[in-house]
């Protein structure tokens, strides 16, 4: 989807109907990102809401370099990062939740898994692991960039990604492949 200049102009004027249209078109995709970054739907809802408020209030800062969809995506990701940072400051951890959420120890073949199944696995990662995994593997940020964003060292980012991968691997790789690939 490409948004024409005339439409962006309306958005910059804070035209409410244009904002609603814009939201209708982009929210499903952005909500997918929010779900990836959060451990529960309620958090995803909060990230999406806060993210779009930021989009509409800071849209004047969009200078038309690149696609507006990319700009919105970046804003939503930044919102998710801030959300994570706040939860870290509050001392919230979902490590135990993660363990509780996977009592069966069931494993899957990743190729056969649907997107929402993979999503379920990622969402059950601990907050830090999940955030780093999302930023590096799916959003394509380097460890240096992730370190700056999350205010952690580059090495911490790398180790968290490694642990996230290991956790996912244990969950998604069939047992038969585990030894041969490991």
């Amino acid at each position: 989807m490409k948004f024409d200049k005339s439409f962006i102009k309306r958005l910059k004027k804070k035209d409410k109907k244009a904002q609603e249209l814009f939201y209708q078109y982009l929210a499903p995709k952005m909500y997918g990102i929010c779900i990836r970054f959060s451990s529960c739907r309620a958090d995803a809802d909060d990230i999406l809401q806060e993210g779009f408020i930021r989009v509409f209030t800071h849209l004047k800062g969009f200078r038309g370099e690149g696609s507006i969809e990319g700009w919105v995506r970046k804003t939503i990701v930044n919102t998710a990062i801030n959300f994570y940072k706040k939860s870290v400051k509050r001392g919230i951890s979902v490590e135990l939740d993660y363990l509780k959420a996977n009592p069966s120890g069931k494993t899957f073949a990743i190729e056969k898994m649907a997107a929402d199944e993979i999503l379920g696995l990622i969402r059950n990662l601990p907050d830090g692991y999940r955030t780093v995994f999302n930023l590096n593997v799916i959003e394509g940020y380097t460890h240096k960039e992730i370190g700056e964003m999350l205010e952690i060292s580059e090495n911490t980012s790398k180790s968290q990604l490694s642990r996230a991968r290991a956790m996912l691997k244990r969950r998604i790789m069939p047992k038969g492949n585990k030894d041969t690939n490991g």
Binding site: F3, S6, F7, P28, Y31, I53, F56, T57, I118, I122
Partner: protein, 441 residues
């Protein structure tokens, strides 16, 4: 291991990168609320309108302050028909502190000695006049005049373009002419018809109701609380008779035509073939022999890549309406010599007589329109408003005056048909009027 991990990453990325699912409805409600909280305070939201209102107010006050009019001064004008049937006009200025009478226009050549004596003994006079009266009294000293001013607070004056006479002259003039305010309409056996009555005259002969009729042009700025609709300035042209049925009260009604425009947008969702880039396509391969060895030579051709891309765009739309306007106002007025000020209020009704609804269309060629949706709401055929306003009326002649009226309109009912646009509306206008005073009956 690394290859396998990269493969897993790639699979996860592909499966999740484009993953999407509709969010719950309450999220948009939260976004709306968040945007609302971000809006500037009401004062800043209406800064433009408030600034316009302030400018109008300042102009009105400046006009009021700088117009050189003696306070408590009233003018009465008299049309005098002499024995020969010639019409002459005269106006009289009377103030509380210094009651002056001013006579202008055609010189009054004769004044009856005996007929009008009633007020000469009550009022001291300073006379300025052309014609016989002034010529007879033109040799007075300023000292005498000062003395008169100091000693006698109440003076009756005739004003002229040429000269000023002293109190004695005025007294003698009054004595000679037996001029009196109460009887000014009957100079020297002339038939006098009053055509313009002021407060001074009203005090003397009582108020007589009268009519005037005004042609008013009104640019009006609308206070816009309507989402996605820009209310353009409204322009109205009205003809409104006013009936001054009381010394201070009047009624105004009439009809007018109002030109109204709304600007909004239509959503245009379309597919277009967009240029994505190019690549070199091999069209032929030849072989060249170099030192006994054959090397392939690839002949390429640049090929452009086009793809069908979905766009979301908007198309500007302007709807135009013409309304008949029927105001019915009641007001209070008061006057000074050159200025009449007043305020008024009352209901007004708008009835639609014509509308031009623009059809939305995509301005871009070679596209496939997926969805075209007009988002500009339509106005109702009828609306009822409350008008309130204040005005200043500057005389620019015997019968004409210019009126400046800051005016506020409040719509009792929503002006749009759709339920989503049920919002109160108001407008601030400046009415500019040319007013003609009709003869009294």
């Amino acid at each position: 291991m690394d290859n396998n991990q990269a493969n897993i990453d790639q699979i996860i990325k592909e499966k999740l990168e484009q993953f999407q699912t509709p969010p719950p409805a309450h999220v948009w409600a939260g976004v709306e609320q968040g945007i609302l909280n971000d809006k500037p305070p009401l004062f800043f939201a209406y800064a433009k309108q408030l600034a316009a209102a302030l400018v109008v107010l300042i102009l009105a006050l400046a006009a009021w302050y700088f117009i050189p009019v003696n306070e408590n001064t009233q003018i009465s004008e008299t049309e005098i028909i002499d024995e020969g049937g010639q019409v002459e006009t005269a106006s009289i200025v009377v103030t509380d502190d210094e009651e002056e009478s001013r006579e202008t226009g055609t010189p009054v050549n004769e004044i009856d000695d005996e007929s009008n004596k009633s007020s000469s003994n009550k009022v001291d006079a300073k006379v300025i006049s052309t014609g016989i009266v002034a010529e007879n009294k033109s040799d007075n000293s300023s000292q005498e005049q000062d003395k008169l001013n100091n000693d006698r607070p109440h003076q009756l004056s005739y004003l002229d373009n040429k000269e000023v006479s002293s109190i004695e002259n005025a007294e003698s003039l009054i004595s000679d002419t037996d001029y009196a305010i109460e009887n000014i309409v009957s100079f020297n056996n002339r038939k006098a018809v009053q055509i313009n009555v002021s407060s001074a005259e009203e005090e003397i002969i009582g108020f007589k109701n009268y009519w005037n009729i005004g042609l008013y042009f009104t640019p009006e700025m609308m206070f816009n609380n309507v989402d996605s609709v820009t209310l353009m300035n409204t322009y109205s042209l009205n003809i409104e008779p006013s009936w001054y049925f009381n010394k201070h009260w009047f009624m105004r009604f009439g009809a007018g035509i109002s030109y109204v425009r709304d600007r909004g947008f239509a959503k245009v969702d379309y597919l277009s073939s967009d240029y994505m880039g190019s690549y070199d396509s091999v069209v032929n391969i030849t072989f060249e022999e170099i030192s006994g060895e054959y090397f392939p030579v690839y002949h390429t051709k640049e090929v452009d890549i086009w793809d069908s891309i979905r766009h979301l765009s908007v198309s500007e739309i302007t709807n135009t309406y013409y309304y008949l306007q029927f105001p019915l106002m009641f007001g209070y007025h008061n006057s000074t010599a050159k200025v009449k000020w007043y305020f008024y209020g009352g209901p007004a009704m708008n009835i639609s007589i014509h509308e031009q609804i623009q059809d939305p269309k995509a301005d871009i060629k070679y596209i496939e329109v997926i969805d075209l949706e007009n988002r500009l709401p339509l106005r109702t055929d009828y609306s009822l408003q409350l008008w309130i306003g204040a005005g200043i009326d500057f005389r620019i002649g015997q019968k004409f005056s210019l009126a400046f009226e800051p005016n506020y309109r409040y719509y009792f009912e929503p002006i749009y048909q759709e339920n989503n646009y049920k919002t109160a509306l108001s407008g601030l206008g400046l009415r500019l009027g040319l007013v003609y005073k009709l003869d009294r009956k």
